[in-house]
């Protein structure tokens, strides 16, 4: 039953356009691989560590592959071959390669079936390990339980993983359900993942496997203390999408920001590159039971939230289809949207309410990620606190899934401990005091709220129809999302993309997408 009197036939039409759009891109994706996809395979089969000049071993190895012009064959074959030949582990081989003591391309070719068997065997180990993490998470959720929805999601962003731990633990004690460690700003443009614990990030902390481990441990500890499972978030999107997804799977992250469109529009990453990367990263996230968060909310930080609301919805439809193709369940689709209208708009609250309710009705099983006011925050922290209260109000009224809490100091600095605490208090107060407001109110037929939602859906459907005809990449080239134009061959990372050879194989796709290890 729709509170908004939405035309669900129209929604299904939009969905079907989105499906075609995604399938179209999926064809392209399946023809390509990228440097980070190959590095991810290495990471999953156990390659880790850095060389003497701090280059991650996966990079060292894949670099050689690329320089040899053999990227299109994929690393799986060469690694499998080397393992079959040497009997050594992937890590040992990578180390030898990095020390120039072994050349993957000159060692004798082994029996192809044996090579595949070898690599599959190790891949299965990896997949089992990830499955075990998924089970550990489930066990925690059963034993400790979790907070009620909307989950309270806060960020830590000190740049120092140890200081982040202090902040995160304090936040959990204050009532947070989800902690996101914001990533150092330059990282999404790095074509490698830094290594080890780090203490000097900028506006955030580097996403490294060790940092993931440190924070996971801290949150498990504080979770025991406060009696609920505390979810950990980090960011996949960027030039290392699948690698970071793999690290997240190995270290039991729970949520990952994962959206190629975000990278394209807001980080000027090449679209071919990141769409290919996105697929593998989502397959990994999906298999690991990780919820993805998409970045539609960001559109409204550059475009006008009233005028461009339909682009958010259109993008959600597309992201849903990409997610389905990567094996993600609806319950794992934290589609992004945001409360970003100018607070001085008369009846702006009604429009926000319409938008949030609409997203809820169109994606009923998705744990929507609802982003707080940011663009229209000012240095007036008192007003900012109320902007956040209105945002919280809409979240509880429309039953959102993941509430990324707004900070009264949004326009000033990354959150201080007390900003976060006040913000959690704000949400807890509003959620509790208005708990069932959503169940209690209905919207006037053909009123401002209903009409707004209906109008946005219509616009999104039209937009999707156009994209279906013109192609997604072409739409982005035309600047239809977030008012940002990106060329198909522009941006960072294109040189890391190649068309796959016939012989190419990636053992993880099959293992993770289907088969016995899926739950």
């Amino acid at each position: 039953m729709s509170k908004l009197n939405l035309d669900f036939t129209l929604a299904e039409e939009a969905r079907s356009s989105a499906k075609n759009i995604a399938i179209n891109i999926q064809e392209f994706i399946e023809q390509h691989t990228t440097v980070t996809v190959e590095r991810t395979i290495l990471r999953l089969i156990g390659v880790d560590g850095v060389d003497e000049i701090d280059r991650p071993l996966p990079n060292v190895v894949v670099e050689k592959l690329k320089n040899q012009g053999k990227l299109s064959l994929g690393i799986s074959y060469f690694m499998g071959n080397a393992m079959a030949y040497t009997g050594k582990s992937a890590q040992e081989i990578a180390e030898l390669v990095s020390k120039e003591e072994l050349d993957l391309f000159t060692i004798p070719t082994q029996d192809f079936d044996k090579v595949q068997e070898k690599i599959n065997g190790i891949a299965i180990e990896a997949v089992k390990k990830i499955k075990a993490n998924r089970e550990t998470r489930d066990k925690y959720l059963t034993d400790l339980g979790e907070g009620p929805k909307p989950y309270l999601y806060v960020i830590v962003a000190t740049g120092n993983i140890y200081e982040d731990v202090n902040q995160a633990k304090a936040a959990a004690r204050q009532g947070a359900d989800i902690i996101a460690v914001i990533r150092s700003t330059a990282q999404s443009l790095l074509d490698y993942v830094p290594y080890g614990p780090t203490t000097e990030g900028f506006g955030g902390t580097f996403a490294t496997q060790e940092n993931f481990k440190i924070m996971r441990k801290a949150l498990d500890d504080v979770g025991e203390e406060v009696g609920k499972y505390i979810r950990l978030v980090n960011y996949a999107s960027g030039l290392c999408m699948p690698e970071i997804a793999a690290m997240g799977a190995l270290e039991r992250l729970d949520i990952m920001l994962n959206d190629a469109l975000y990278g394209i529009l807001f980080r000027d990453i090449n679209m071919q590159r990141t769409l290919v990367d996105q697929f593998f990263s989502r397959v990994i996230n999906g298999f690991a039971g990780i919820i993805i968060n998409t970045g539609e909310d960001n559109y409204l930080t550059t475009s006008d939230a009233v005028e461009e609301a339909h682009t958010v919805l259109a993008s959600q439809f597309i992201n849903e289809q990409f997610a389905l193709l990567a094996g993600l369940k609806e319950e794992q689709m934290g589609l992004g949207h945001a409360f970003e209208m100018d607070p001085s708009i008369e009846n702006g609250f009604l429009l926000e309410l319409a938008q949030a309710q609409m997203a809820r009705e169109i994606f009923p099983n998705a744990p929507l990620k609802y982003m707080p006011p940011t663009k229209h925050k000012t240095g007036n922290i008192f007003k900012g606190h109320i902007q956040d209260a209105l945002f919280n109000m809409i979240a509880i009224t429309t039953n959102q899934g993941i509430q990324l809490l707004g900070m009264l100091t949004e326009a000033i600095h990354t959150p201080l401990l007390q900003d976060r605490a006040l913000s959690i208090e704000n949400a807890k107060y509003v959620f509790n005091n208005m708990r069932n407001l959503g169940d209690e109110i209905e919207f006037k037929e053909n009123g401002i709220i209903q009409k707004r939602a209906q109008g946005v859906l219509k616009e999104a459907a039209v937009m999707l129809k156009n994209i279906e005809n013109e192609g997604l990449m072409e739409t982005i080239e035309a600047g239809k999302f977030a008012g940002v134009k990106r060329a198909k061959t522009g941006g960072k990372g294109l040189d890391g993309v190649v068309v796959k050879d016939e012989m190419y194989f990636n053992p993880f796709i099959e293992l993770m997408l289907g088969g016995e290890y899926r739950d």
């Binding site: 200081e163 240095g379 922290i381 008192f382 100091t409 000033i412 401990l417 007390q418």
Partner: protein, 248 residues
Amino acid sequence: MTNVDLTRVKPYGDTLNDGKMQFSFTLPVQYCEEAKEAGKQLLIKMGIDDPEIVHAEDLGKGYTLIVAYGICSHTVDFSSIEVPKVDTDMMDKYGVEAFIKEHIKRDVVIVGATTGTDAHTVGIDAIMNMKGYHGHYGLERYKGMVAVNMGAQVPNEELLAKAIELNADAIIVSQIVTQKDVHIPNLTNLIELIEAEGLRDRLITVAGGPRINHELAIELGYDAGFGTGSYAEDVASFVVTEIAKKNV
């Protein structure tokens, strides 16, 4: 991971010893760039490094609101701070009742009021009335206790007279209005009256209210002080323990 140096504690923003503080205040000058600069200079005089005026707003001719953040250059020696506290073991209602039965063996008499011009009764009622506060019964409901709540705007003289009349063990006073420090002379006056009657040693005196704390109460000559969030059992525990001490 660095640990807090308790002899040199600084405000904490998101990194130990970053000194981050938030300020808001109004300057009685026209809203302009110079007003913001004045705000900055004021903060610098306070020992605030790198003051940032994050918001300034015209509050109507001749007033400017300033919201600022900055870095506190001062530290405090937390390790040497000691705040006097009521050091009675706190009991619940049943504990207090049992204590009276066992150690005092007679009814404890407590007289209370909000005194002076203060008309706020909710605080003293929370402590004394049957019903109590937040599910904590008030003194009137305690077995072994006679609690007389005289209400608000009670002159000190009347309160003391009632205490004498009932041969009370304790006088408990509520003071909610503290503007221009009006509670100080009023609380002081009561103690002086009690002393004049030569009852200072016999009568237990307690003050309470949102701006009262134990330290202040002691300073003003009371035996104890209770602030925001106090319940009947807190003052009851204190009073009965004191009576028992005096009996020893």
